[in-house]
Every structure is written in C-alpha cells, then in structure tokens.
Symmetry: C5
Subunit: 322 residues, 5 copies
C-alpha cells in the first residue's frame, strides 16, 4: 500500500490511495497532499518532480546520500535533508530522509525502510486537530519525530556511560578491554552524531527565521519548541563527549596506577625470594664457613632464611606494597 494522504480544509479525506492519483489534486489550493517514496528509482522521482515542479538539483540530492542535514530554498519549494538516527547494537544507523515542501504538498523520500514512517503518521494523528495548519504542521510532526529519535540515541549512550562508571573503580581486569572498547565506540558514535545534530539545529533555526511569512503564528511556538530540542540535542552531545572523555582518562589513569601497584609487588616478592637464595648460596660454598657440614650450619642457615624473609614481608606489608 502506498503511503499517501489527502487533507481538505484540515480534515483527512483520503489515505493509502495510489501515488499516481496525486496529480488529480495537486492543483487544488484547498487540498494538502502528502506521499512517501521509499528508495525510489530515478524514474519515479523524475515523474513526481515534473508534476510538482521540483528543481533538478534538489531531485539529484534526494537520490544521493551526502550525510549532512540541510535546507535549500528554491523558487517554488523548499528542499530539506534530515537523518533519522538509531543505535543498532553499538553501531549508529542513519537513514537519509529528503523532504520536498511546496505550498500544498509534502513529499518524503526515504533512503531505506529503516526509518519508521508509520510512527510519523501516528504522531500526526495524535494532534489531528492541528491539521488545518497544512504542510507546516505535517513538516513539524516529521521533524519532531526525527529529533525525538536523537534523544533516544543520546539517552542510550548516556546510560552506557553511567554503566561504565560502575565498572571503572572496580579492581576487575576482565572489564578492562570492555571499557576501552566501549569508550572507543561511544566516542566514534558521538563524532558522527555531532555531524547530524549541529546542522540540524541550523536547519530548524532557518525554518523558524524564514517561517515568519510562511507559518501561521499559532505554529511558531511549536517550531520554537522543536528548535529548543535541537539545541538540547547538540548540547547533550557535547556533554556526552566530555563525559566519555572523563571515563576514558580516568580509566587510563586507573591502569597506570595499577601498573604502579604491580611494580611494587614485583619488587617485594623478588626481594623476599632473592634474599633466601643468596643465603643458601652462601651455605652452598665449598669453603669452611662457620657451621660447614655441621648441624649448626643447617640451623643458622634456616634461621637466617626465616628471619630475613619475615622481616622483608613485614616491611613491605607495612608500606602497603603487598
């Protein structure tokens, strides 16, 4: 079933009709039309582009993924590129959504079915009474859903950072590589995510600034709210980068301190073993030392070994090296 919708005077009149029927309504100013294309062929786009009078450059951009949210203004329409984000395991999965915005039509072009367009439809229906504001209302619902997805991603990373922290100060070697890899992956995701979040802020900011003429004043607070969300997403991203950096540095120091401990243990045990070895070496000499070949020698040797080892053990224990 094609994802299409037709509103007349703010009321949903038709849904799921074939995309080809769109052309029947496009000229009617009382009608607002939406339809969605999922990974369309160049020919599909070409047809629609002609009907709606879309600019060649915008259509080309919709066909190529270029990893940067943007807003282009053409004479008769806007062209917006945004990216839906989802964390799949520890990979950040992005889906490009190209949006054509004309006076009475909204066209969404999804790069792949990974972006859940039905959730957007549910969001529209949750505020159905606002449908009278037309295309800007539809656009808001879509962008709002996209930005909410960003918070889901950030929340997951935030939770992971908190979880890492618990492992951080435990003396558990098994966690070591785990922490190292996790911080690596998270930082990588955040670098990529930042490339979305910051330009997204500019896209919504531009919409808001230009919107003065385009938007019904009643919609302005909604776009303002959306803009606040993009600001928050960008700031949160930066905070998380710092928190990940904090974990990473603390982890490295932790390792450094542990190496220090190990070095101290080495010294201590090496000394505790080396001294008896030196003493038995002494009593192993083929020279008539006091007690040579006599029980006395055995007792003095054994006593020396025990005394020296115990003293060393106690010294190191007291210094906290063992």
């Amino acid at each position: 079933m094609d994802r299409t919708r037709l509103y007349r005077n703010g009321v949903l009149k038709a849904e799921g009709f074939p995309i080809d029927d769109v052309s029947d309504h496009i000229g009617d100013p009382s009608v607002v039309v939406w339809f969605d294309l999922c990974s369309p062929s160049p020919a599909d786009l070409e047809k629609i582009s002609e009907e709606l009078g879309l600019h060649r450059l915008a259509v080309e951009d919709a066909l190529h993924s270029d990893q940067r949210p943007k807003l282009d203004t053409y004479d008769s329409h806007l062209f917006i590129t945004v990216y839906g984000a989802k964390l799949v395991g520890k990979r950040l999965e992005l889906t490009e959504i190209s949006i054509f915005v004309t006076k009475n039509a909204l066209v969404t072009v999804r790069e792949s079915p990974h972006f859940d367009i039905d959730a957007v439809i549910r969001r529209w229906d949750a505020n159905a009474e606002m449908a009278r504001y037309g295309v800007p209302y539809l656009l808001h619902g879509l962008l709002d859903y996209v930005v909410d997805g960003y918070f889901d991603v950030l929340q997951v990373i935030d939770d992971k950072v908190e979880a890492l922290e618990d492992d951080l100060f435990e003396d558990n070697d098994a966690d070591r590589l785990h922490i190292q890899r996790q911080t690596y992956e998270m930082r990588k995701s955040l670098v990529r995510f930042r490339r979305l979040a910051v330009p997204m802020r500019e896209v919504v900011g531009s919409l808001l600034r230009r919107g003065v003429e385009m938007l019904d004043p009643a919609l302005t607070p909604y776009y303002q709210d959306l803009y606040d969300h993009t600001l928050r997403a960008a700031e949160w991203t930066d905070s998380l980068r710092e928190l990940v950096g904090n974990v990473r540095e603390a982890h490295i120091n932790q390792q450094g301190f542990r190496l220090n401990d190990i070095m101290k243990k080495i010294t201590s045990w090496a000394a505790i073993i080396a001294v008896p070895t030196m003493i038995t070496g002494f009593y192993g000499q083929n020279v008539p030392y006091p007690g040579f070949s006599q029980p006395l020698g055995f007792w003095t040797s054994t006593a020396a070994i025990l005394v020296a080892s115990s003293i060393l053990y106690l010294i190191f224990k007291k210094k906290g090296w063992l």
Copy 2:
C-alpha cells in the same frame, strides 16, 4: 498548607489561601498573585492552565523534565524553565522549576520538594518594599535565589579542589585513589553543571533584553546584577574545570615520577642482592679455585661479598636511587 500569595498595590494582602481561590482574583489588574505547585498531576496543571490561558506546549514542558534552562515567549505569557542545584555528598542534585509568568500572576511548578521554596519567600520578604514592581520583582527574587544556589555548589567544589591540592604533593599512597576518584567526580559534576550555567546566562540575558518594555526601569539594575551573577557562575565553572584538570594532570605526573623512583629502587636492590649471589655461586663451584675447602676461601668470599655490597650501596645512595 498551599503556598499562595496575593499582593494588592504592592502590599501583601493574603497568604496560604487555597489555590482554588486564585480564580477569584486573577481578573483584577491591581492584584498580583503567586502560587506554587509541587509535582502536580496533569489534571492540576490542566485546571490552572485554563484559568490563566497557558499554552498547551508550555504546560506539557512543565510536566516533563528536560534538563535545559530555557525561556519561551507565548502570546499571553512567558514560560521559563530553570534548575535548582545542590551538592548532596558528591552527587549534583538538580530540581526542575517551571515558571509561568503572566501580567499579574507568577506560577512556580517544582518537580520535587527538594527545592526549598520557603527560602524564596524569605528572600521576597527581605525586600518587601519592592513588591510594588509586581511580577518582575517576584521573578527576580526567585531567579536570584536559584543563581545563589549555584555559587554554593561552585564554592563547595572550589574548596574541594583546594583540599585535594594539599594531598597532591604528599608522598602518601593511601590518598591516591581518593584523588583519582575525587577529580573524576568533580569533573563529572562540572560537565553537568555547565549544561545549566551557560543556558541560564542566556535566559537571564533574554529577560533583560526583552525587559525593556516589561520591566519598570527601577528594576533593570536588579536584573543586570542577576545577569552579572550568571556570567560569573559560567566563568567560575570554566575556571574550576581547568583547575580540576590541573590537579588531575599533576596527579598523573606525580604517579609517573613515583614509578620512576620505584624502578630505580628495584635496580639498586636487585644489584645489591645479585652480586653476593654471584660470588657465593663462584665459591660453590666444585673446582679447586684458590681457597677451595680452606679457611682462606671463606675469608675471601666473605670479604668480597661485604666489599661489593657496600660499594654498590654507597654508589646508589650517592645517585639518590635509594
């Protein structure tokens, strides 16, 4: 008892009356009303929202905590979100306060009772003569109290940094993990705190800029003063981040230098023990070396051990390795 207040012509007329009575006064322009809701239900907010004509989006925001101070302008009212901050142990505890500002009413919505609204009331009463400036005066008192809370947090962290410093250059291993954890916690708190302090500056800055029409000129210096405080809080946060970084780096270097010392000690003692072991090994050979099985052998061996060990000990002592 409900927290409510009613001022008429700058004089406190009633206090602690039920919130439901508010609607009796809200239409009277000579009256200024304040009331406070602590973790209200959606229904509670709904009722008030209708009476005061609050925007749906603002009401929704008041119900959800979203961790970012902001100022939204609606047609008939302002909506402000700020966060009270307190250090509980080493955790930074934040309480969201949503504020609705209309011509003659101030509504504060606290996320939880952790924010001490009575202290705000005391602050208002300390400058009771200024109540004639109405809502902006109440708002100033509230924001001023919030920002003063930030300085309390920053002062505690500042004191902790100073305290860490004293431990820093002492040769005490027990403090090590302590310093490491403290710097970790402080940096984490500062990252979170920064997410409050910087947007708070913008919120007060916006109030000041828009205030030209809204504020009585006599109040401008008070808002300017508040703005200076938010600037100072943001700058102090940044300084503290650098000071914590300074402690942290100095601490790591300290550990590095200590490892260096330990390595030198290892070398030294290893040498002092290894050389006698080598000598006794020589005298333990089953070959007729000079002194084999003769007292002479014992004396030369013992002399060699003592001389070699002493020389090594003195060399290392002189080099400062022991």
Copy 3:
C-alpha cells in the same frame, strides 16, 4: 593542442583553436571565451594579461604558489586561487589553479599538468544546455569538479580510518608500527587539507554573496549547492581529525594495557622459576639438612619444587595473569 573554447549565445562554436586567436573574439560581448594555460612562462601570462586588462598583482600571484585559496576583486575582473587535491599513496598532492574571471572570459592557469582539466571539460559538456549562463556556468563547473575532488580525498582517508579500526583491537604486534605511522600520516594530511577546505568555503561564500548582481538567478541554486559541498568538506575534515584522534588514543591505551599484561606475565614466570631455584639452593647447602646426601632429600626437594611451582602456576592462572 591548446585547450580553448568559444561559446556564442550559449552554443559551443569552436574548440582547440590556438590561444593566439583569442584576441580576435575578446571584444565581442556575445562571445564567451575560455582557455587554459599549463605552467605558463611569465611572458605568456604577460601577453594575455595585456589583452584582458588583468591586474599586475593578480598575474604575479598566478606565477607564485602560495597555498591558500582566495578570491580577489579587481576593477575589471575577479582573481581566484583554488587547489586541486589528490591522494597519491599517502601523500596529499596539491595543484594550484589560478582563475581570471572577466565578463566574457575565463582563464585557468594550472601550476602543473597533475590537475586533469579534461575532466572539467567533460563536466561542462554534461550540462551543455546551461552554457547560456556564460562565464559563471563555466566557473561553477570548474569549482564543482575541484570540490568533488576533495570528497574523493576525504573518502579515502575515511576508509583508511575504518580499516585501521579493524586492526586496532587485534592482538597483533606487527600492526603496531603500521597504525602509528598511518595515524601520523593521516593527521598530517588532514592538517594540510584543512588549510584548503576552510578558505575554500569562504571563497565560494564570497562568490555567492557578491553574486547577487553577477549571477543569473537561475544559477544561484547551483552556487548554493556548491557552497553546501564546501561546508560539508570542512565539517568532514574536522570529524576525520577527531576520528583519527580517537584511533590514535585508543591505540596508545591499547599499548599501555599490553605493557601491563606483559609486566604481569614477567612477575608470574619470574616467581615460578625463582622459587625452585631457591629450593635447589637450599638443598645445595653444604650443611646436614634433613635428607642431606640421602634419597629422602632428593624426594623432598623434588616434591617441594613440583608442589610450589604448580601452586604458583594455578594462582596466576586464576588471577588471569598467565
């Protein structure tokens, strides 16, 4: 064959004619002329400069490579310097291209034949119908090709970063120097590349701002698109710098952790070998210890060695040190 082109009223009329013939057409306003000079002598440039009325400073700049994209406005013409970029092995190879832009002529001066001007010609021909926009169309095709070259460079570096990552968490020593060198080279290339990408953004941005008078409105979207590309190149460069930094830091930590492991292995094996040595030392003493010169001694010694070594081995195995 000389690279020259002559368009009349947006139609390609002649191609490959000698540069000396250019002067015949330069005065005709219905004609647009392009020609290319590859590492010209000062005399060559001098001649052309006189015919087209180019400024002395611009001509001098065209003769000297100075490693910074720029746009200079002279009374009668623009002078643009851009750099073509290519990765040859791991070296970033730059070719300066100086561009003189007059009302009806475009002159490109290439520092060396490494920049493939024929590819630019192919790009022009791909959109031949736009030739009616004259010089700005030719300039757009050229700059677009240059910026596309930047993406090729960035894509190669991006792929290399991804490839490094796979090696990163493997326990393979041979890769170590490889990763170290690669991150060094990539960071170096990115520093140099950034010196191109950021000023390039300004060059195109200036063209767009000044273009209001110069450009046919139909071309504006094309220049806007180009500007988006330069933005994206600059942002991508910054992301890559961070990703390379991420790999580098993870790699260093990796090495630190590995050193830790090795230190643990040393301790463990040293202990496992040192203890039997100490025991045999004991049984090598020339004193009548229990079992001296008797089979009993052999059995107790051997048993002690095996038991002590096994216990140590198991302890270390359990601690994960072996």
Copy 4:
C-alpha cells in the same frame, strides 16, 4: 590621615582633609572630589551612599568580594569593580577595588590595605596638568596603575618559565619535583589571573564605547592606550598558559625518556650478572662435568665468566645502553 583630594578647575586645592568635609563641596560643579575608603564598615558606606545618591545594589556589591571585574551603569553614576593583583611568593594575591564614578566625584573602596593607593596618587601627580579633564582623568590613572600591576605579575611568571626551561634539559633529579610543582602553581595562578584579565578588557572596552559622550576627546587616546594594555595582558596570559603547558609536557616526556634509559640499564646489568651466576651454577653441579674437581675446571669457569661478561659489557656499551 584620610586619603582625600579636591580639585577646582583642574588645580589641586586641598588634600588629606577629613572625609566628613566632602559633603561641603559635592554640590559645586567646578569642583572634583576624590576620596578613598579602606575596608569600610557598612555604616561608613551607607553615609556616603546617601550623600552621593549611590544605588543600593552598587553599595552592596562594594561590601562583598565577588571576584569578577565589572562595570554597572546606574542612572546617576557608574559602578566599577576591578582587582589589583600581586604575586606574593608563588601565591597570586588579589585586592578588590570598588569604584563609584559620578559627574564630579570618584570614590575608591579598597577591600584591604594591600592595594597601594599612594602609588596611584603619585601617578596622578606625574600628569598633573591633565587634571582639568576631571573624574575621567582620575579614573584613567587608577585603572592604568591596576593594569600595569598585571604586567608586573605576568613578567614574573614569564621569567619563571624561562628559568624552568634551563633546568628542563639537565639530567638533574633534584629539579624534578621542583619543576612539577612550579608548573602546577603557575598554571593555577594563570587560571585565576585569566578570570581577571578577560573581564577587565571588557570593562575598559565598555568605558571606551560609552565614553563617546562622557570623555573629553583629548582623553580618548589615553583610554584607547589603556584598552590596548588590557588586550595585551589577556593575550600574554594565554601565551603563558601555552608556554607553561609546553614546559610541563616537555618535562613529562623527559621523565618518560629517562625511565626508558633506566629500563635499558636494568636489562644490561641484570644480564651481565646473571650469566656468570649461570656459569658458576654449572660448575657447582655434583656431576662429573669436564674439569670437575680439577684445576682445569677452575680455569675454564673463570675464563667463561670473564669472556661472557666482557662480551656482554661491550655489546651494551656499543648499543648505548650503559
């Protein structure tokens, strides 16, 4: 003696008269009055505040130290907070100076006597002929003295950085902790100093911008000069932070390299001692090896020891490890 001054038409008429006499002159527009309060009581300030019509907020600010230079504009006067800075040992000592600026009076309120107000008086007297410009001239003299104090601080830190550098590349362990502590202290001072220097720049910048109406044009160059000085102080602070960072990093690397050297020495000497020990172990076996209990054994053993040790010593010497 009270620090007070009275100028009439640019000529110093009275000095050192009691502060209480000030009120006699304050209404006379041909008179310029200055007086200084050192750590005044709230009552003292209250009295003066009434006479000069100072704003309550400014007076409160003058009583509390809040560590941030600022300029507040009130209806009838300016309020300026600056900080005098001095290095006492390695501690940065700050003294708050609050300044009230009215049409014909300058009031300075010093937090403590550590700020040398007499030096300011000497500076005023050095340019006595400029006294005809009134209050702005007095203010300039004061601020100029404060900023010059900053340069003294920065010069001392700069000299210290230079001095550290000489110790840096010497192989002297005693300096180690010294360098570490010094860089720590300097960086800390610079962080605190930066919190003065940057807002100070803004304070003077604001004075200059607002001064258009207030200042005699003849004074503008003097304020411009002062502004240049604040710029220079801020830039110098940043340079010093980087230079201290440079020293610190070089120092850490130095330590790392030294650890490397020590590890090499350990290996070398350990090998030189371990090999003879192994040889004597061989000749200590109770088995009939060639030379067992014969002079031949002694000579082969001794030769093996000498040859092996010498070879190892020479190898390590050649590798530069000893």
Copy 5:
C-alpha cells in the same frame, strides 16, 4: 649617513640628507618625506615629535617595547607598531619598529639595527613608479617587507618539521633528545610568533577598512594583497603548531612502543638465563638425584640446559619478542 628620503610629485629628489633638514620641507604639501631613527634617545624623538605634531602617548610607546603589533589613530597622524622577525639559530629574534604616519611624512623608529631598513629601500625602488601614491605606498612597502620576513621564519620552521619527521620513525636513540628539544623550541617559537601574527592581521585589516578615505583606489589591491598575506601567515602558524604537536605525540608514542619492546626483551632473556640456572641448581643439590656424581648426571643436565634454552629462544623468536 642618515636614512632620509624626499619625494616631490612622486619622484625621488633627495636621499641621505641630514635629518635636521627635514623641517625645511615638512610644510610643503607636494613633498613626501621619510626618515628613519635607529634606537633614538628620548631627546631625538622629542624634537621630531614637536615638528610633526606627534601625540605624547605615541612617542612614549615608540620608546618602550611592548611586544604587540597595534594601530593607534590620533587626530593628525597614525601610530603603528610592528615587529620584524628573524630566526637566529633556533631563537626567534624580534625587532620593534614604530611607525608615525602623517599626511606627507613617514617616520620609522627601529629598536635596534637588526631590522634591515636598506632592504625596505630596495623594495621601494623596485616599484619606483608607484611613488606617486605617496605615504601609503611607502607604508605598504615597509609592511610588505615585514610580512615577507614572517614567511621566511615560517618556512624555516616548516622545513625543520619535515626534517624531524625523517628522524621520527628511525630506530635511532641518538635522535631522541634532539627531537624532544627541537619540538620544544619550535612550539615555543610558534607561541611567541602567534602573538605577532594574529594582531598583525588586525593592524592591516584596520588600515584596509579605514583606508577607504585615505588610500588611492589604485592602492587598495596592494593592501588587500598584504592582508591576504597576514591571513596566510596566521593560518600557517596554526597549521605548524598542529604539525609540531603531531610530531611530538608521534615521538612520545614511539618511545612508549620502544619501552614495550625492551620489556619484552627483558622477559625473554631473563627466562632464557633463569631456566638453566634453575637446572644447574637442581644438579648442585647435595642429594642423590638420578645421575648424582655420575657421567649420566652431566649429560642429562647439559641436555636439559640446551633443550630448555633452545625451546625458549625459539618460542620468543616466533612471538617476535627477540
């Protein structure tokens, strides 16, 4: 010989005449005068200052070196401070040049003879035909020479960075301290250099902005070109800082990796020596082990030693530890 010049209507009329003769021509508007003072006494400057009507503050600044390029505008003249830069060995040598610019006079005051003013004269003469533009032409020639000097400094540092790189990945210990010192020195020079390059950009930028009234339009491209050079110098400085940082970090990692290698070698050789020592210890026991005092013992011992050592050697060789 004094460095003086007199142009009338753009033609050089006199040169090398005594500075005292300047006053004869200074009032003549058709004349342009230049003269140079090298480390003048206050009295010298005083005299000139009176004749040209220079501001007291500017004259004072010319007498004191304050390490920051700046441009001050006075009623009747401009005052510019710039710094000539030269690398002498690895030290960055700066020479302050103070410049007074009046309608028809240019005065240069050099702090020391290290700045080669004759080279500036040669540059003027190279474009002698432009002398008709008067003082701005002379000023351009001077500033252009100064900025070109910056490129010489940057080129030397750039070459050094390239040279260091070749040493970087070689396994040569002798270079180690060399690299460490070089990066230290270069970074220090770049910090100091940055303090020149960035304000220099502002000085030329200000000249360009204000120049609208002052400059002949024909000179604008020359000042624009100069401004591009200062931009490039600032950007190059930043790139070099990053490249030096890149070398430094790679160098430190290199050292870390080498330490790792040494640790592995230690383990390996320690094990290869420790195992035979353990075996000979076994055969040195005074207990009747199999082969005690029999040739069989010698052969088993020797075989065990050779086999164990070889196996270990091969294992370590295969692991790449030796």
